[in-house]
């Protein structure tokens, strides 16, 4: 009699999923997963208990192409030449996917368009752009991301020659390697697990913007001299002490790094040992742990990073021969 049964009655067994326990709450069923549904029925007929099973429905979950990009910078990043913007790129689809990453400096409203130096993927996962990171050309393909996985992407931007205090936006665009399109666009046969790929709500691409504020600083050194002669006057006679003062004026905004002030001892004078001072505090003449050093030939003081508006001063004495 089974030969005469309609095909769809043929009892199927071996459902892929037994659903014996409460399933875990996944973000999304992985692409390629087979959904399988079978119903069974029990009944009594003519005093006897019987069971019957339905056909088993099986179909594949296709790959959803979705991505989310977000800026990780809480505030505009100050740039005095180059700046690093930080973004996260998250695969919000349900299959492994790589994304083409493109930084766009020409965002509407920008007072000027900075130069994109390069992109970098935070390969070592420390959240900081450093030597361990993989350099990626602008418009290059990022790493393959599992569903729900994200990667940190750095955009290195050059703002050289830009005026001080300008704010510019940089957009980072991520596009699914498989393709992009309006939600629902199907890429036949290109899905993970043998199925199709379908553009999700994001259209399989997303972008976010990060901001840079330029900060340009300039340094001016002002040098002055005061003479004290041995007789209580200010005549530059032999034996008189000349006190040189060098003021480093940093203007603009931001700061300058590694500022070093050096000067030579003028001819026909001799450095007065132990006279070197930074902001009124004595420095030893030896090249040691403190910021300064001095010798018969000249002085040098390492000021390090100096913020705009700070005006550190260095003084030293020479004796006229």
């Amino acid at each position: 009699m089974s030969l005469l049964r309609p095909v769809w009655v043929a009892a199927a067994s071996g459902a892929f999923f037994a659903a014996a326990t409460v399933p875990a709450h996944a973000e999304g069923v992985r692409a390629g997963t087979i959904i399988s549904n079978t119903a069974t029925a029990s009944y009594e007929s003519g005093g006897a208990g019987r069971t019957v099973q339905s056909n088993t429905l099986e179909f594949r979950v296709d790959e959803l192409l979705d991505v989310a990009v977000a800026s990780q910078d809480g505030a505009p990043v100050a740039s005095s030449g180059q700046a690093t913007l930080t973004f996260s790129v998250t695969n919000t689809g349900n299959g492994p996917e790589a994304f083409v990453l493109t930084a766009d400096p020409a965002v509407a409203g920008n007072p000027f368009n900075p130069t994109i130096v390069t992109l970098a993927v935070d390969s070592n996962g420390n959240g900081i752009y450093d030597e361990g990171d993989q350099i990626l050309a602008n418009g290059g393909l990022g790493p393959l991301l599992d569903p729900d996985a994200s990667v940190t992407v750095f955009v290195i931007v050059d703002t050289e020659n830009a005026p001080d205090g300008q704010t510019v936006q940089i957009a980072l665009l991520a596009e699914a390697q498989t393709g992009t399109g309006t939600p629902g666009t199907v890429f036949a046969g290109q899905g993970e697990g043998g199925g199709d790929a379908v553009a999700g709500a994001s259209g399989a691409d997303d972008q976010a913007q990060g901001a840079i504020v330029t900060s340009v600083s300039a340094v001016a050194l002002l040098k002055s001299a005061a003479v004290a002669d041995p007789f209580g006057g200010s005549e530059p006679v032999p034996g008189a002490i000349v006190t040189f003062t060098i003021v480093a004026q940093v203007s603009g905004s931001g700061s300058v790094a590694n500022l070093r002030v050096a000067d030579e001892i003028p001819a026909s004078t001799s450095y007065r040992a132990g006279s070197l001072q930074l902001n009124g505090a004595p420095l030893t003449d030896a090249a040691d742990a403190d910021a300064g050093q001095a010798s018969a030939s000249g002085i040098a003081v390492q000021l390090g990073t100096v913020a705009a508006g700070e005006n550190p001063n260095v003084t030293f004495d020479v004796i006229i021969d």
Binding site: M1, L4, R5, P6, W8, V9, A15, F16, F17, A18, A19, A20, T21, V22, P23, H25, A26, G28, V29, T33, I35, S36, N37, T38, A39, T40, A41, S42, Y43, E44, S45, G46, R50, V52, Q53, S54, N55, T56, L57, F59, R60, V61, D62, E63, L64, N94, V186, G195, D196, V198, G200
Partner: protein, 156 residues
């Protein structure tokens, strides 16, 4: 409450001739499942919900699983119970004219009365996502009668 048999078609299957017209020799109760995807199609600016074949199914989509039954036993059957384990990849979208199990099919009842043990070991009210099995109970089906049951699910 809507009776479980949405389309209860009672066929006059008494007597030889008419019984031949469907499934002669199918002496049990037939069960046949179908699945469709609920999608929104916009036609002339009007959004409509349509049911389509399950192609390009992705997470978040609404599925309608239907199980049709037909009593070909030639006599009434009693205590007809359809049990449907939910596929792992879907979760129940809404309650319906069925009992649910949140413990792998060991016990059935209404969702509102069910509790499950949370990740922290504390009991909490069961949610749609906790449902593992569905069950429809029909006291009897007349000879030759047919109908269908359905549930709505969302791809996880």
């Amino acid at each position: 409450m809507k009776f479980v048999t949405r389309a209860l078609l009672v066929c006059a299957a008494v007597g030889g001739v008419s019984a031949v017209s469907f499934a002669q020799g199918t002496q049990g109760v037939e069960l046949a499942g179908t699945v469709m995807v609920e999608r929104t199609q916009t036609v002339d600016g009007v959004a409509k919900t349509v049911l389509v074949e399950p192609t390009n199914v992705v997470p978040g989509e609404q599925l309608v699983f239907t199980t049709r039954y037909r009593n070909n036993t030639g006599q009434p059957v009693e205590n007809f119970v359809i049990t449907n384990p939910l596929p792992d990849a879907v979760q129940l979208a809404r309650a319906g004219d069925f009992e649910v199990s949140v413990d792998g099919g060991s016990s059935f009842g209404s969702l509102s009365g069910a509790t499950v043990s949370g990740a922290d070991g504390v009991s909490r009210p069961a949610q749609l996502a906790d449902v593992t099995h569905l069950r429809w109970v029909l006291p009897s089906i007349a000879s030759g009668a047919s109908g269908e049951v359905e549930y709505h699910a969302v791809v996880r």
